[in-house]
Symmetry: C2
Subunit: 141 residues, 2 copies
Amino acid sequence: MPGKQPIQNRRSGCPLNASVEILGDRWSLLIIRDMMLRGFRTYKEFLGSYERIATNILADRLQKLMAHGIITTGRDPSDGRKLIYSLTPKGIALAPVLTEMVLWAAAHEDTANQALVRLMQKDKPRFLAGIRQRWAEKTTR
Amino acid sequence: MPGKQPIQNRRSGCPLNASVEILGDRWSLLIIRDMMLRGFRTYKEFLGSYERIATNILADRLQKLMAHGIITTGRDPSDGRKLIYSLTPKGIALAPVLTEMVLWAAAHEDTANQALVRLMQKDKPRFLAGIRQRWAEKTTR
DNA sequence: CAAGTAACTTGCAATATGCAAGCGACAAAT
DNA sequence: ATTTGTCGCTTGCATATTGCAAGTTACTTG
């Protein structure tokens, strides 16, 4: 287990406040969703996602997610222009958070992607194990 | 089960996007935390919380949480000036989301309130059941 | 080596946030 | 019953963040 991030200028020491300060905006979790569930790895792919993030906001959020140790980046060996973004262990550990947020919205709002939701509902531990396994396969290669 | 909220002008139908559009800001979840975990019920109490929310932002967020059916309000019968805010079933259903966010931050950031965190870690279902029970007791009375 | 692509950066208008002060309804004290 | 205080906001204004369009730079492809 690597050392935890030092407490920055947080409004309080509450763990929920820490999460909210890191992830509480309209875009960060969607980027993480795209990486975790859709396998997106490049700037271009993130830009093409459904919610149409602006280029400057995307660049800013990728920076912040890196600064928080949630994602890392490296050059694509087969194309020097491309950067490959990937989730760190800290990033993949957000899977339960995303899952609960999806389940809550699916239960209380009018939303799409019911296939995914049913997978989560049917066997949550298995769903989470699947996410972690696919991540491990990608990152060890 | 009451009807789900109609799909507004969402950027996409993704359930995670719905959650992020409703809860993805720096304050909403902290207000819900104060109600769920600390038993806060009035404007004054929210204002006094650790993170020092501004009065106009608090009023705005309470409005939005009500519009989304996450909280309700009523007059305090014993003091006509006071409004009592409380969580709806949809609001209390956010307990697993808050819990996972707390656990994630506690595992990866330098945070306080380790007593609460250990309770969550030791027996999560029991912790959630406790939250729901205290809520049910308050709301049926 | 010209044209295209990936990942940004910049400029600027619109929107949201944060702070301080004020306001109206009600309550408590004199 | 009138002053003083409390509660839940609202308003004004400065600053910060967001969103859109148009560059820019490094690399790749034809």
